[in-house]
C-alpha cells in the first residue's frame, strides 16, 4: 500500500484526513439510517414542531389576506421609505437560499466530497427559502391582481415589461434559480426515492414509485445521469452567483446614496453564503440530533461550514469597512452623510446590531473548541442570521430615510402586520422543511455510498486494476 502522495491520488489522501462516514457502516446500514425517519413512527417532537410551524403558516396567510384586503398601507411604509421589511425579508430569504445550491454545485465541482451528506438537506432548504423569498416581491406591489404584467405575455394593450428594470431582472433571476434548484434537487433525489420505493409498501410504494420514474440503477442510466448532474452543477454555479448579484442590482443600479455602490454584488454574494451556511448549520444540528445521523453528518462537516462562515463573515466585514472608506474617499456629501447617519443616526441601533452579529461574533470561529462545539455553532449561527436580516434592513431603510433632499427625511416604524408577515414566512419555511425530513431522504444515500471505501471497485487488489486499465 503506497502512502506517497502523487497527483493521481492526491484527492484521496486529502479525503482520508478524517473519514466522511464514521463507524463500521455498510451500504445497507447507510440505507437503513437514512430511511429511518421515513419508516419510524412519527416522533412527538416532529408533531409539536410541525404544529408550531403550521400555525406560523396560518399567521402568514392571515397577514397576507389582510394586506390584500386593505392595501399596502397596513405596513409601516411611507412616501419616503417605499420599501422596508418586505424587500428586507425578500433579500434575507434569497440569501439563505444560496447555501444549498452552493454546497451542491460549487463544492461538487471542486470535488469536495464532504458535501455529500449535507447537500440534500441544504438543497431542500434552498428551495424552501426561495419559496419564502418569492412571496415578498409578489405581495409588496400595490395591485397584486395585475402583477402578471411582470411577464412578457402578449396582450391587447400591446404593452410589454421594461427589461431595463432590475426588478424585472429579479423576476427572471429568482424564478430561474428556483426552477433550476428544484430540478437539481429532484434529479439528485431520483435514485434515493427508488431506494424508498423498494423499501416501502402499499400506497407509499406507489407514490415513491411514481417519482422514482422507474429508476433501476442501470449503469447506462448512471452514465447520462452523472453527466447531466455535473452539467447542472456547472450551470448552477454561475446562476447562484448571478442571482444575488442581480438582487444587489436592485440597489446598486439605483441613484441613492447607500444603494449606488459597485461593491454590492460580491458583498451580497458573500453575505448570502454567510447566512446560508448559518441556516444549514442550524437545520443540520437539529436533524442530526433528531434522526441520529451522527455517523453521516460528522463534526468535520460542521467544522468546514464554520470555516466558510468565518471566511464569508470576514468578507462581509471587509465590505462594511470598504463602504465607509469609499464614502469618505469619494468626497460625495450625500454618500458621506448617509454612512455617518447609519452609524450615528436614528437607526444606529440597527447598524451596530448588524456589525456585532456579522463581523464580531463569527470571529469566535477562529477557536477550534468553539468551531467544534454544537451549542456554540448553533447559537452563533442564529446570531449570524439575525445580523444578516439587519444588514438588509440597514441597507434598505437607512438609505431611504436620508436621501438627497433633507426636506424629505423621514422615519420608518413597522406595524404589527409587517412583523406578522415576517414571522409567518418562517412558519412556511419550517412547515415545508419538516415535511421534507419526514418523507424524503435527508441524506443523499447513493452519493454517500460512493464515498465509502467499499465503493471503490479496485479496493482489494491494485494489480487487477492495472490489468483492467490495460484493456
Amino acid at each position: 500500500m503506497d502512502t506517497s502522495v502523487t497527483l493521481a491520488n492526491l484527492e484521496e489522501h486529502v479525503d482520508k484526513r478524517s473519514p466522511l462516514v464514521l463507524g463500521s457502516e455498510t451500504f445497507s446500514s447507510v440505507t437503513n439510517i437514512v430511511s429511518r425517519p421515513m419508516e419510524m413512527t412519527t416522533p412527538k417532537a416532529w408533531w409539536i414542531c410541525f404544529l408550531i410551524a403550521l400555525s406560523g403558516l396560518g399567521v402568514l396567510g392571515a397577514a397576507i389576506g389582510y394586506l390584500f384586503w386593505e392595501g399596502v398601507g397596513v405596513w409601516g411604509l411611507n412616501n419616503r421609505v417605499g420599501w422596508a421589511w418586505d424587500i428586507t425579508n425578500f433579500v434575507f430569504w434569497v440569501g439563505i437560499g444560496h447555501a444549498g445550491t452552493l454546497i451542491s454545485a460549487i463544492l461538487f465541482l471542486f470535488r469536495q466530497k464532504w458535501r455529500t451528506s449535507i447537500n440534500r438537506a441544504a438543497e431542500a432548504m434552498t428551495i424552501f427559502a426561495v419559496i419564502c423569498a418569492l412571496i415578498f416581491p409578489g405581495i409588496h406591489v400595490g395591485r397584486v391582481w395585475v402583477a402578471y404584467w411582470l411577464f412578457p405575455i402578449p396582450n391587447q394593450m400591446a404593452m410589454w415589461p421594461n427589461f431595463r428594470s432590475p426588478l424585472l431582472w429579479d423576476v427572471f433571476a429568482v424564478s430561474t434559480y428556483f426552477t433550476v434548484s428544484t430540478l437539481f434537487w429532484f434529479v439528485g433525489l431520483i435514485p434515493d426515492i427508488a431506494t424508498f420505493r423498494d423499501r416501502s409498501k402499499g400506497i407509499r410504494k406507489f407514490v415513491y414509485g411514481l417519482f422514482a420514474l422507474g429508476w433501476r440503477g442501470s449503469h447506462r442510466h448512471w452514465l447520462n445521469y452523472e453527466r447531466a448532474y455535473l452539467i447542472l452543477a456547472a450551470l448552477s454555479t454561475p446562476l447562484v452567483l448571478s442571482v444575488h448579484t442581480i438582487v444587489s442590482f436592485d440597489f446598486a443600479t439605483s441613484q441613492l446614496p447607500g444603494w449606488h455602490a459597485t461593491i454590492f454584488p460580491p458583498y451580497f454574494v458573500a453575505g448570502a453564503i454567510f447566512s446560508g451556511f448559518a441556516m444549514v448549520i442550524n437545520l443540520m444540528i437539529i436533524c442530526r440530533w433528531v434522526f441520529k445521523l451522527e455517523h453521516l453528518v460528522t463534526m468535520r462537516h460542521f467544522e468546514n461550514m464554520a470555516k466558510i462562515i468565518l471566511l464569508t463573515g470576514s468578507m462581509v466585514g471587509y465590505a462594511y469597512a470598504m463602504e465607509f472608506f469609499i464614502a469618505w474617499y469619494s468626497g460625495n456629501p450625500y454618500e458621506r452623510y448617509i454612512f455617518i447617519s447609519r452609524a450615528t443616526g436614528p437607526y444606529a441601533w440597527a447598524y451596530w446590531t448588524m456589525v456585532t452579529c456579522n463581523v464580531i461574533i463569527p470571529q469566535l470561529f477562529w477557536v477550534r473548541k468553539i468551531r467544534t462545539n454544537l451549542w456554540a455553532l448553533f447559537i452563533i449561527s442564529v446570531f449570524v442570521n439575525i445580523g444578516m436580516w439587519f444588514e438588509r434592513f440597514v441597507i434598505i431603510v437607512t438609505s431611504l430615510h436620508r436621501t438627497f433632499l433633507p426636506s424629505s427625511w423621514a422615519y420608518f416604524k413597522p406595524t404589527y402586520v409587517d412583523i406578522a408577515t415576517f414571522i409567518g414566512s418562517f412558519g412556511l419555511f419550517f412547515t415545508l422543511f419538516l415535511l421534507f425530513i419526514r418523507f424524503l431522504p435527508i441524506v443523499a444515500i447513493a452519493e454517500v455510498k460512493t464515498v465509502m471505501p467499499e465503493a471503490d471497485p479496485h479496493g482489494h487488489d491494485h494489480g487487477h486494476h492495472a490489468k483492467g486499465g490495460a484493456h
Binding site: N79, W149, Q255, S407
Partner: protein, 1035 residues
C-alpha cells in the same frame, strides 16, 4: 377581484361617485330638493343650470340599479343620460368660465370660476381684475371645496334645533324669515329700532350696505356693529386722528424700493396679499435686467411669509414695535427728517437694543424718500399706526407708495361696545349676518353669556356654528358661488358676484336675508340689479352684461384723501404713553396670530386647508404654541409636549396646548395661531388643534406677562417636514445640509450678481461637480421628438411660500386628502410641496433665516424613475414630460425610492374612495379631465398634462403643430401671486418665456451633479442686504 376592478375601472371619479351617491337615498333626496320648481332667474343666469343636475340625479339613479349587475367578462352596462334641453352655451365635457369676485382673508379680488356641466370645480383669479391679476391666495382656491362642505347649514334652526326632518325645506325658510321680519317690525317698529342691533363682517358690498342704510332709515335707533378678523380698527383710529374719517390705507409696493414692516405681513395673510405679492415681485424680478432690487426690512415676533423673504429680519416682540418705531423716528430726525419735536423727545426716552439695525434702516429710508414705505401690522396700537403714518408722510411717501382711501364700510362700533350694551340690557334683538362672535370674540367679553341676554337673536351663517346654535334663530347662508352679490376692493374696484350653481340647499344670501328682515322678498339677483340700476346711467342691461363679462365695474368707487396729515396731531396720540416695560423684560409675551391655513377659523372645516402644511412650521391638522429653541430649552419644553399658557388680566385664562419648537420666534415669546379647537361639530374641524381665542383679551392679539409651563402629557403633531423630530436644532442642521453642503437652495446677494454677472464664481461653492462634466453619458440620449418640449422654472427670489400652488394643484388634479394619522406616517399626497429650510444659529433668533423651495416632479430627461419601473408604467413622453399611466402601474414603489427629489406619492389605501365615503359631495368638485387615482398606484405632478392635451387638440384643429406660448398654463403657475412659476414650450424659439428664464445665470438644477437634466429648474434666491448690516445675515 371583480369589485377591485370596478373600483379601479372608474376612471372619471365624477361618475363613479354618483353610483355611490345613488346608494344613499337621503342624499339623493337632498339633491332633488336643490331645485325649487320654477326658479325664475334660471333663463337669464348662465351657469346656474338645474337640468344638468336633474341629469346627474337621473344618472345616479340609473347606476343604482346596475352596480350589482356585473361579473361576466363583458364590462357592466352603463347608461348615458343626455340633457332634456341642452342649455344655450353648454358643450358636454367642455369647461365654462364665469367671472365673479370674492373676499378672502380680508381682501376682495376678482375671480374666474371653472364649471363643468354646472359644477364649479375650480376658483382662480380674474386676470383683468387689478386686485388679483389672475392670481389668488390659498383661501380662494379652497372655496371650490367649501361649497361642497358636508357640514354646511342645511335648514333653519330654532334654539339650535333643526326645524326640518332631514329634508331641507325651502318653504319653511321663507315663512320663518317672514315671521322674523314681522316680529322685528312688531317689537321695534314703534320705537324706531330702539334695542335693535345688527352685527356683520366687514363686507364691502354696495348692495348689502345699501340695504343696511335702508334698514337704518326704517329703524333709525338701531346700531351697527362690525366684527371681522381683518378689520383694521387701530389703523382707522389713527387715520381718524389725522382727520381722515372712515378711511383705510392702500399700499403701492410697485413704487417702493425700501419696505419696512413692523409686525406687518403684507405678503402673507394681512390685507391685499395677492396684489401686494404681485407688486412686490415686480421689484424683485428687476434683478435680472436692471440689476436692481427693492430691499425689505421686517421686524416681527415670529416668521411670517414676509419675514422669510425679507432681506433683513429683526426678531422683535409685538409689544416692542412702538418703541422701535420711536427709536427709528429719532434716527430719522437725526438724519434731518422733519418730525414733531414732541415725538423726538418721546423717542429719546426709549432705549432699544437694535440701534444698528434701525440706523441702517433709517439711512435707507432717507436715501429713498418717496420710494419707501413703512407698514405696521393691524394688531399694533393706534399710536403706532399714527407714528408710522407721520413718518411715511414726512418721508414724502404718502400718495406715492401708500394712499389714504375712504372705506366703503359704514361707521360702526366694535364688538366690545355691542357687548357692553347687551350686558346693560339695551339690546332686545340682535341680527348677526355671517359672523361667528361666540367663537371669535375676545375671551374677556364672554360673548356667549351676553348673547343669552338678548331676547331675539337671529343668525345667518354658512355653518350652524357656535353662534348659530346659540342664537334663537339660525338661517342657512348660501355660498358665494351660489348667489348674486357685489364687492368693492380696497382700491375701489367694484365687481359683481356671480353664482355658478344653484344653492345645494335652500339658503339665503346676505342681501336676501337683510332684505327679508325688512319684509322684502326679492331674490339676490333682483336686489343686486336694483342696487346697480340706481348708480347706472344709460343702457343698464348692456353695461350689466359687460360687468359680468369683465368681472368688474370699470371706474372705481370711493375717493382717496389727498390732504397731508397734520403731524402736530401726533403729539396728542403719544401723551400719557408711559414707557412700557415690555421691550426689556424677560417675562413671556403671548402673541395670537391669524392662521395661514384656517384664517380666523372659518376654513377649519375645509379638508384641503386643514391638510395644508403651514408655510413655516409645516404643521398640518393642528395649531400649536410656537416657542423659540432657546426659550424652549430654558423651560425644558420639547416639540409635542403639552404646555399650559396662563394669562392673568382682569380675568384669568388658561389654555393647555401642544408646544412646537421652531426657530425664528422671539425669545420669551409664545405664538398661538387662532382658528383651531372649534366646538361646532364639523366632521373635518372636530379634534383639530386648540382654541387660541380663549387667551384673547381685548382688541390686541398680543398680551404681556403670560405664564408658560410644561405640563404632563404629549401630543402628536403632524408635520410634513422633519416628521416627528423633537430635537431643538434639528431643523437648522437640516437647513445647513440643504443650503450649505448640498446646494439644494441657492442663495446669493445682489452684490454678488453685480460683481459676477455670469455667476460662475458664485455658483462654484454650490456645484458638487462642474456642470460642464455632467453631459458625459455612457450612451447617446434617445431624444424626444415632438415640436413641443415642456419646461418650467421656479424663481426662489419671488416665492413667498404662500401655499396657493399646493391647493391649486390639489383642486386641479383631484388630489386626495389623507388625514392627520397618515400625515404622521408621511403619506401626504400633495403633488407640489414647499420645502422650507432654516439656516443660522438657533440660539440667536436674529441670525435665523429661512428660504422656501416649491418642489414637484422635475420631469428629468434621464429620469431615474423610468428605468426602474418593471412594467413601463412611467416612461417619457415625446414632449419631454415624465408620464405615468396610472392603470399600468402595479405599485412596486421602486420609482419613488429612486426619485432623488422624493416627489412621487403612493396610494397606500384607496384614498379617493375614502374621501367620497366621508363626503359624497366632494366628488362634485372633481376635475373630470383628470383621472382619479385608486389604491396601489403611484401619482405625481404631470405638468397638468390634461391642460397640455387640451391645448394640443385646439392647436392641431387650428392647424398648428407648435402650441403657442401661453396656451398651456399649469395650475400652480396660474395661481402664483408672484409669478414665481413659469411654464412653457422650450422648443418655441420665438417667444418662449421659460426658455428666456432658463438662459439666466441664476438658473440652476437641483442636484445638478446627478446629470438628471430636469425640465424644472430653479432661479437662485437673491437677497439684497444693506452693506451696513451684511455681517448679521447668513451670507
Amino acid at each position: 377581484m371583480q369589485s377591485e376592478n370596478n373600483q379601479e375601472k372608474s376612471g372619471k371619479k365624477y361618475w363613479r361617485s354618483l353610483e355611490e351617491m345613488a346608494e344613499s337615498p337621503e342624499l339623493l333626496a337632498q339633491m332633488k330638493n336643490e331645485f325649487p320648481s320654477g326658479a325664475a332667474e334660471l333663463e337669464v343666469t348662465p351657469g346656474v343650470d338645474r337640468r344638468s343636475f336633474l341629469g346627474i340625479i337621473g344618472a345616479s339613479a340609473a347606476f343604482a340599479g346596475l352596480t350589482s349587475a356585473t361579473g361576466c367578462i363583458r364590462k357592466p352596462a352603463e347608461k348615458i343620460l343626455p340633457y332634456n334641453k341642452r342649455p344655450e352655451d353648454l358643450v358636454e365635457g367642455k369647461p365654462q368660465y364665469y367671472a365673479s369676485a370674492g373676499r378672502f382673508g380680508g381682501s376682495v379680488f376678482g375671480l374666474l370660476v371653472t364649471s363643468y356641466e354646472g359644477r364649479p370645480t375650480k376658483v382662480d383669479g380674474n386676470p383683468s381684475h387689478p386686485m388679483s391679476l389672475g392670481a389668488t391666495n390659498a383661501f380662494a382656491q379652497a372655496s371650490a371645496l367649501e361649497v361642497y362642505d358636508p357640514d354646511r347649514s342645511q335648514s333653519v334652526l330654532k334654539k339650535g334645533v333643526a326645524q326640518t326632518s332631514g329634508r331641507p325645506d325651502a318653504k319653511l325658510l321663507k315663512t320663518t324669515l317672514a315671521a322674523a321680519a314681522a316680529e322685528i317690525k312688531a317689537t321695534h317698529g314703534s320705537t324706531g329700532g330702539q334695542g335693535l342691533a345688527v352685527l356683520l363682517e366687514a363686507v364691502p358690498s354696495p348692495t348689502l350696505l345699501g340695504l343696511l342704510r335702508e334698514f337704518q332709515t326704517t329703524y333709525p335707533k338701531s346700531t351697527v356693529t362690525i366684527h371681522d378678523a381683518a378689520m383694521r380698527w387701530n389703523e382707522m383710529t389713527a387715520l381718524a386722528s389725522f382727520g381722515y374719517a372712515n378711511a383705510h390705507l392702500f399700499h403701492r409696493l410697485e413704487e417702493a424700493d425700501v419696505v419696512a414692516c413692523f409686525d406687518a405681513d403684507p405678503l402673507g395673510i394681512e390685507g391685499d396679499v395677492v396684489r401686494n405679492s404681485k407688486m412686490y415681485a415686480t421689484k424683485r424680478k428687476s434683478v435680472d435686467e436692471a440689476k436692481t432690487m427693492s430691499r425689505l426690512y421686517v421686524a416681527e415676533p415670529t416668521f411670517t411669509n414676509t419675514g422669510v423673504v425679507a432681506d433683513h429680519r429683526l426678531s422683535l416682540r409685538s409689544s416692542a414695535m412702538g418703541e422701535a418705531l420711536l427709536a427709528l423716528a429719532v434716527q430719522l430726525a437725526s438724519k434731518g427728517l422733519n418730525l414733531p419735536a414732541e415725538v423726538i423727545a418721546r423717542g429719546k426716552q426709549v432705549s432699544t437694543a437694535n440701534e444698528k439695525w434701525l440706523k441702517a434702516l433709517a439711512a435707507d429710508l432717507m436715501a429713498n424718500q418717496g420710494k419707501s414705505v413703512i407698514m405696521v401690522g393691524q394688531d399694533q396700537r393706534a399710536w403706532v399706526h399714527a407714528l408710522a403714518l407721520a413718518i411715511n408722510s414726512a418721508l414724502n411717501n404718502l400718495g406715492k407708495t401708500l394712499v389714504v382711501r375712504s372705506s366703503p364700510l359704514p361707521a360702526a362700533s366694535p364688538l366690545h361696545e355691542l357687548t357692553r350694551e347687551i350686558n346693560k340690557g339695551n339690546v332686545k334683538t340682535l341680527v348677526i349676518i355671517d359672523s361667528n362672535p361666540v367663537y371669535t370674540a375676545a375671551a374677556d367679553l364672554s360673548f356667549a353669556d351676553a348673547l343669552q341676554k338678548v331676547q331675539t337673536s337671529i343668525h345667518l351663517g354658512y355653518h350652524a356654528d357656535e353662534t348659530g346654535v346659540a342664537c334663537a334663530l339660525h338661517f342657512p347662508r348660501s355660498h358665494a358661488l351660489e348667489s348674486w352679490g357685489d364687492l368693492v376692493s380696497s382700491d375701489g374696484t367694484a365687481a359683481i358676484v356671480q353664482p355658478v350653481i344653484e344653492p345645494l340647499y335652500p339658503s339665503l344670501s346676505d342681501v336676501e336675508f337683510l332684505a327679508g328682515l325688512m319684509g322684502n322678498t326679492k331674490n339676490s339677483y333682483e336686489l343686486v340689479q336694483a342696487q346697480w340700476k340706481k348708480s347706472t346711467t344709460g343702457d343698464f342691461d348692456s353695461s350689466w352684461r359687460r360687468w359680468l363679462h369683465d368681472g368688474m365695474v370699470k371706474g372705481t368707487v370711493g375717493e382717496t384723501f389727498s390732504a397731508k396729515p397734520e403731524l402736530s396731531k401726533l403729539a396728542q396720540q403719544l401723551e400719557g404713553l408711559g414707557t412700557s416695560p415690555e421691550s426689556t423684560s424677560t417675562q413671556m409675551e403671548l402673541r395670537l396670530v391669524l392662521d395661514r391655513s384656517v384664517y380666523d377659523g372659518r376654513y377649519a372645516n375645509n379638508a384641503w386647508m386643514q391638510e395644508l402644511p403651514d408655510s413655516v412650521t409645516k404643521l398640518t391638522w393642528d395649531n400649536a404654541a410656537l416657542i423659540s429653541p432657546k426659550t424652549a430649552k430654558a423651560k425644558g419644553i420639547k416639540t409635542g409636549d403639552f404646555v399650559e399658557i396662563k394669562l392673568k388680566q382682569d380675568k384669568e385664562a388658561i389654555l393647555k396646548i401642544a408646544a412646537f419648537v421652531v426657530p425664528g420666534v422671539s425669545e420669551n415669546t409664545v405664538v398661538v395661531p387662532l382658528g383651531y379647537g372649534r366646538s361646532f361639530n364639523g366632521r373635518v374641524s372636530t379634534g383639530t388643534g386648540f382654541n387660541g381665542y380663549s387667551l384673547l383679551f381685548g382688541e390686541n392679539r398680543f398680551a404681556f406677562g403670560a405664564d408658560v409651563q410644561r405640563v404632563s402629557g404629549t401630543y402628536e403633531l403632524a408635520t410634513t417636514q422633519e416628521h416627528g423630530v423633537s430635537d431643538y436644532s434639528y431643523d437648522t442642521t437640516v437647513g445647513k445640509e440643504a443650503v450649505e453642503s448640498r446646494g439644494v437652495t441657492r442663495e446669493i446677494t445682489l452684490a454678488a450678481i453685480k460683481a459676477d454677472p455670469s455667476l460662475e464664481e458664485t455658483f462654484k461653492k454650490f456645484n458638487l461637480l462642474d456642470p460642464k462634466k455632467h453631459k458625459t453619458l455612457l450612451w447617446t440620449k434617445t431624444n424626444t421628438t415632438s415640436g413641443n418640449q415642456w419646461g418650467m422654472t421656479i424663481d426662489l427670489n419671488s416665492c413667498t411660500g404662500c401655499n396657493a400652488c399646493t391647493v391649486a394643484c390639489q383642486a386641479e388634479n383631484n388630489i386626495s386628502v389623507v388625514g392627520k394619522k397618515r400625515v404622521l406616517k408621511s403619506r401626504e399626497m400633495h403633488w407640489i410641496r414647499i420645502d422650507r429650510y432654516f439656516t443660522g444659529n438657533v440660539d440667536t433668533p436674529d441670525s435665523i433665516q429661512a428660504v422656501f423651495q416649491p418642489m414637484a416632479c422635475a420631469h428629468c430627461e434621464t429620469a431615474p424613475c423610468e428605468q426602474v419601473c418593471p412594467v413601463a408604467a412611467t416612461v417619457h413622453g415625446v414632449e419631454g414630460t415624465n408620464d405615468i399611466a396610472y392603470n399600468r402601474c402595479i405599485g412596486t414603489r421602486y420609482c419613488a425610492n429612486n426619485c432623488p427629489y422624493k416627489v412621487r406619492r403612493f396610494n397606500y389605501f384607496n384614498f379617493s374612495k375614502e374621501n367620497d365615503a366621508d363626503n359624497p359631495l366632494y366628488a362634485m368638485q372633481k376635475n373630470p379631465r383628470v383621472t382619479v387615482r385608486f389604491r396601489g398606484v403611484i401619482e405625481k405632478c404631470t405638468y397638468c398634462v390634461q391642460r397640455i392635451n387640451a391645448a394640443r387638440v385646439e392647436s392641431k384643429i387650428r392647424g398648428e403643430d407648435i402650441i403657442r406660448e401661453g396656451a398651456v398654463v399649469t395650475a400652480c403657475q396660474q395661481v402664483c401671486p408672484t409669478d414665481a412659476i413659469t411654464f412653457g414650450n422650450l422648443a418655441d424659439e420665438v417667444d418662449s418665456r421659460v426658455k428666456m428664464l432658463k438662459a439666466l445665470p441664476r438658473n440652476y438644477a437641483v442636484l445638478s451633479e446627478l446629470a438628471l437634466e430636469p425640465r424644472t429648474t430653479f432661479l437662485a434666491k437673491v437677497r439684497n442686504p444693506n452693506p451696513e448690516l451684511e455681517s448679521s445675515t447668513q451670507l
